[in-house]
């Protein structure tokens, strides 16, 4: 039990650039991100077709309206999310995770993209709610109120940015992490584990920066879709595809100046 299967990068030409950038010593996090996206062709941007990814974003997009309805728990139940009458942050994030898992388990097909999306959604939601609900004397309705407050263009934009930053980071590390630790020690780029982890953090920051591009329009999209009463999974899938395309283009720019 407890076995871990650790993959590594193929030694094909297009991945060799990534390996060279990581191992050669001068490739910044931004350059490595850009090269990785080139190596995986269009599969990153095609993530908008993934059932798990779309479901995760759709749930995040519909949460605020559920909180604004007369009965939060009932509205969430309609989305497949089971919580108590006055749920805590832990309960909401756990229930979101469960909802996506159950959705995928019922023949929608598991995928690595879906797994990464689920984790990113839980993390983004947890972060955005935790910041808002940190209180010495929490009240039963605090979480519902704060979820409702995510329902503005600005706030949804921030949530979307956080989600896409984390999802993109996971997507890049899905490949890059196969090479980074191999470069620690000996002739490798990183002399110590700490140096390798600094690089990982730089990659994380780069994704957060790049995700600003999504924040710029996500709120507008969400508001328009709500206004047109069309916050469906189909429409969400198109939004996800577009957002990933913008992230990819932004990351391909490399480091900013």
């Amino acid at each position: 039990m407890g076995h871990i299967r650790l993959p590594h990068l193929p030694r094909t030409k297009r991945w060799q650039e990534v390996v060279d950038l990581v191992g050669g010593g001068a490739g910044s996090a931004a350059a490595v991100a850009s090269a990785t996206l080139d190596a995986i062709d269009d599969s990153f941007a095609a993530g908008g077709d993934d059932a798990g990814l779309v479901r995760a974003v759709w749930l995040l997009a519909n949460l605020p309206d559920a909180a604004k309805s007369g009965d939060f728990a009932k509205a969430l139940s309609g989305l497949g999310v089971k919580v108590s009458a006055s749920p805590t942050v832990a309960e909401v994030t756990t229930a979101i995770s469960d909802a996506v898992d159950n959705y995928l388990g019922a023949h929608r097909g598991r995928s690595d993209v879906g797994e990464m999306a689920l984790g990113a959604a839980v993390e983004a939601l947890s972060k955005n709610l935790a910041q808002r609900t940190a209180s010495l004397f929490p009240e039963a309705d605090d979480v519902r109120r704060e979820v409702a407050k995510l329902g503005t263009e600005v706030q949804f934009g921030k949530l979307a940015r956080d989600f896409f930053a984390r999802f993109t980071e996971r997507s890049l590390k899905y490949y890059v992490d196969r090479e980074l630790p191999r470069q620690v020690g000996g002739d490798g780029r990183f002399q110590t584990l700490a140096e390798q982890r600094d690089f990982s953090r730089a990659l994380e920051l780069h994704c957060q920066q790049a995700a600003k591009i999504v924040e710029a329009f996500a709120g507008g999209w969400w508001s328009k879709a709500r206004f047109e009463k069309d916050l469906t999974e189909e429409r969400t899938a198109r939004f996800v595809g577009y957002a990933l395309k913008k992230m990819r283009d932004e990351l391909r720019k490399g480091a900013a100046g």
């Binding site: 407890g2 871990i4 193929p10 097909g109 689920l118 630790p181 620690v184 110590t192 982890r197 720019k253």
Partner: protein
């Protein structure tokens, strides 16, 4: 939406299906003439008849699932297909004795969801009545072989209170010891009899426990061994076997049912049970989920359906670290047996001298566990082929695993509370619901418990590493340790070894295109920098990269490269117009898509580029027509330059091939990459240099060349932060009457005449126009020089606050305008 992977049809136990393809996998379980045999030793044949139909079916189903799991390849470790091969889809049609029960939606859903999470495959089940097995010697109910080791009857089972899975590993051993000696419970241990080596360990440990028990007032445990044999090679295609634990749980459940118990135990420390990914590349079930709380909950749900009463699958160690499990053995009479347990994932390659490889995740966790529990004397560290603290971790894969493992433990420590923990490890949320059920906690309590478990584990790892460091500090300082030993991988204080020069080793911008002393210094995406001799094509490329998005005719490009004014060089031939039209069409499509998603920044960018390109299609005149010979020569120069670059750096060359348009009109559709560009002095690109104000002139507006300078500062007329074409004309209109308030109607007239437009535009909105005029100036002169350059005069319009002698307005002689 992406469709799930192609389904593999699996027809089991003689089942048939009209839609099944001819090459469907067919499985049967029984004797050696079948695909698989499941042998269960240790239970009396006399009990066979008491095994319920549903439990018999359950074991049958679990066996077929394992068979299918082994038949379909999951790909290689170096696959970069996004996991396409890893995720499979199965449609199992299974002959069972009670199909109406198994076909109930709740039951089928419990099976499908649990197995889907366990193995990350998609499962669909259909059940049929078990067909009569013609030609088989055994009856259906006897296909699951129950026998005692020596044919002896099983002992009475009234004393049995617990059924526990027993792998022979450390955690299951500690659990068994706790049940037998700690709680004095009558126990059946259920083992998978796989490799001979492992079986020897399991059987040996059970024998030792049985011998020890009476000496300590405990009941000797019973032992049931499950052996699954595949008689068809195709079932050995895939070795990961993530669904194996479902079969063990099914058999343990069947055994429990035989002795009228509704509970089984599966002992695994919480860190391994939840098994959070230690690296971004470890997604989903690449980290096994055998004892994941969600899986145990799923097994419990299935067993509850089958038993017809509440059935639990428990892991009492779910909130303990490995070190804590080991510490729990400290007062056990069985402690001395702990070193005989076997945790290694690579059991088949082990020897008696080295029963543990030392490099798999279980071995790493085990070494840290004993050291962290301060019970190293109870472990045989010499039995590890690679020892954690002292040996060299030369193998890249092994070193990666170790460092990822340590790094993740460190990340646990960095979290201050449950919220931060879930913000960093969202996957942990999946364990929370079942931890809530198992330990009677609410969601917050469960989250806190899971966080604290991981924090304690991280603290233990940190403590062990500090101790290793303390012991190694002197050797590190004296340079005695090899670079890939653990102390050196973590710490490099004192006398550092000479750092290996990195192969690229250049400072400077990531993307360079610099003319230096007659040659070109180039670099792309912080790869290896290289030098190329001077060539015209590189010159042209440099000019294009310096102005991304600006389309230039070949004549204009050549003029710029020679330091000449490109005015009059903007007329396109047919090919050029075609290229521009295609680009404009692509931009319109991009703009319209951006509109759908309210991406205003992209809409604005696209529109600006459309506005810049469209006039090229309208430009007329014979004197600027591209010289075809010159155009072909320039094309050749550019392609040769790109070819030279590709030879030195394929990624660079590929980038240029994708983003540089070559033809009678050329441009670089840069994706926003920042370039460090230095062109040769002769390429005095007017837009790249600051022009000097002459004789008191502050503002120069050069309409034919679309240039504006203010007090020597270039005001951009191309993105970003630029004066848009209409705004430029409006500025020129104001410049015709400096110091005067000009109404918007007059501005519209000015735009019309100066722009040579076919129709007079509507009067612009004053406020909007002021914004569009002043923003480029304030961006270019952030020191506030241009703050009051353009002023709104209430009721009168906008005023350019300059004297006439301070303004220079350049128009064509005809008074018309030539736009870029």
């Amino acid at each position: 939406m992406t469709a799930p992977p192609t389904e593999t049809w699996v027809l089991c136990g003689g089942a048939t299906h009209a839609r099944a393809p001819a090459d469907a996998l067919r499985l049967s379980v029984g004797d050696t003439s079948d695909s698989m045999t499941v042998g269960i030793a240790g239970v009396s044949q006399a009990l066979t008849g008491q095994l319920s139909t549903r439990f018999t079916d359950l074991v049958r189903i679990a066996t077929f699932v394992l068979g299918a799991d082994g038949a379909i390849d999951r790909g290689r470790l170096d696959d970069a297909d996004g996991g396409k091969k890893w995720h499979r889809a199965f449609r199992l049609v299974i002959g069972v004795e009670d199909p109406s029960f198994w076909s109930q939606p709740d039951v089928t859903t419990a099976l499908e969801e649990t197995l889907s999470f366990l193995s990350q495959d998609t499962f669909a089940f259909e059940f049929q009545t078990l067909a009569s097995q013609r030609g088989h010697k055994k009856k259906v109910g006897e296909q699951l072989v129950f026998s005692t080791p020596g044919g002896k009857p099983f002992l009475p089972w009234d004393h049995i209170e617990d059924i526990s899975l027993f792998s022979g590993g450390l955690d299951s051993f500690a659990g068994a010891a706790e049940l037998i000696f700690g709680q004095k419970r009558g126990t059946i241990l259920v083992s998978h009899r796989s490799a001979t080596k492992m079986w020897a360990t399991q059987a040996g440990l059970v024998e030792d426990l049985r011998a020890l028990a009476p000496k300590h007032g405990a009941r000797p445990p019973e032992h049931v061994a499950v052996e699954v044999t595949r008689h068809n090679d195709i079932l050995r295609t895939e070795r990961t076997q993530r669904t194996r634990s479902f079969l063990y749980a099914a058999i343990a459940g069947a055994v429990a049912n035989l002795v009228s118990r509704n509970r089984i135990c599966m002992y695994e420390n919480g860190i391994i049970g939840i098994n959070l990914p230690i690296a971004g590349s470890v997604v989903g079930a690449r980290a096994t989920r055998t004892a994941h709380p969600r899986v145990l909950g799923g097994f419990a749900k299935i067993l509850t359906h089958v038993a017809g009463a509440k059935f639990t699958v428990e892991n009492p160690f779910a909130l303990k670290t490995r070190a804590e499990v080991i510490q729990g053995l400290s007062s056990s009479p069985a402690l001395h047996l702990a070193k005989q347990t076997m945790s290694c994932a690579h059991i088949h390659q082990r020897s008696q001298m080295h029963p543990h490889c030392g490099v798999c995740s279980q071995c790493i966790d085990r070494q840290f566990g004993f050291l962290g529990a301060d019970m190293a004397e109870h472990e045989s560290f010499e039995g590890y082929e690679l020892k954690l603290a002292t040996d060299e971790w030369k193998d890249d894969g092994a070193r990666s695993l170790l460092l990822n493992w340590i790094g993740t433990a460190d990340d646990f420590v960095s979290c201050k509370n449950g919220e931060q923990f879930i913000e960093k490890f969202g996957d942990a949320a999946r364990a929370i619901p079942n931890i809530m059920d198992a330990f009677g906690l609410d969601a917050d309590g469960s989250r806190r418990a899971v966080f604290e478990l991981h924090k304690r584990h991280g603290d233990t790892v940190a403590r062990v590493l500090e101790a290793i460091h303390a012991r190694s500090a002197k050797d590190i300082r004296e340079g005695k340790l090899k670079p890939t030993t653990l102390p050196m991988l973590l710490y490099r204080e004192g006398l550092r070894k000479q750092r290996v020069e990195n192969k690229a080793g250049q400072a400077g911008a990531e993307n360079q295109f610099r003319a230096v002393d007659g040659s070109w210094h180039l670099r792309f995406r912080s790869g290896q920098a290289f030098e190329l001799p001077d060539a015209k094509g590189l010159h042209y490329l440099g000019l294009l990269l310096a102005h991304p998005g600006e389309a230039r005719t070949t004549a204009a490009l050549r003029a710029l490269s020679e330091g000449r004014d490109p005015a009059g060089c903007h007329v396109l031939d047919a090919d050029g117009k075609k290229a521009v039209r295609e680009r404009v069409a692509a931009l319109r499509k991009e703009r319209d898509e951006a509109e759908e998603f309210c991406d205003q920044a992209t809409v604005t960018r696209c529109q600006a580029e459309i506005d810049a390109l469209t006039p090229l299609l309208k430009a007329k005149g014979a004197d600027g027509l591209a010289d075809e010979k010159m155009a072909r020569a320039m094309e050749k120069n550019l392609r040769e330059a790109i070819s030279s670059i590709t030879k030195a750096s394929k990624p660079f060359g590929d980038h240029l091939k994708e983003y540089v348009q070559i033809g009678s009109v050329c441009w670089y559709r840069g994706p926003g990459i920042a370039w460090d560009i230095a062109l040769p002095a002769v390429a005095s690109d007017p837009a790249a240099t600051r022009s000097e104000a002459t004789d008191g002139v502050a503002l120069v507006i050069d309409l034919p060349n679309q240039r504006v300078t203010f007090r020597g500062h270039e005001i951009p007329t191309t993105p970003p932060n630029n004066l848009q074409p209409q705004a430029l004309l409006a500025l020129a209109a104001l410049a015709q009457r400096p110091g005067e308030a000009v109404t918007m109607a007059d501005v519209a007239t000015g735009i019309w005449k100066l722009g040579g437009l076919a129709k007079k535009p509507t009067s612009p909105d004053q406020r909007d126009l002021k914004y569009k005029l002043t923003t480029p100036f304030t961006k270019a002169l952030p020191n506030g020089e241009a703050k009051k350059l353009i002023q709104a005069v209430r009721g009168s319009g906008l005023r350019l606050n300059l004297r006439a002698e301070e303004v220079q307005l350049v128009l064509r002689d005809s008074g018309g305008v030539e736009k870029r």
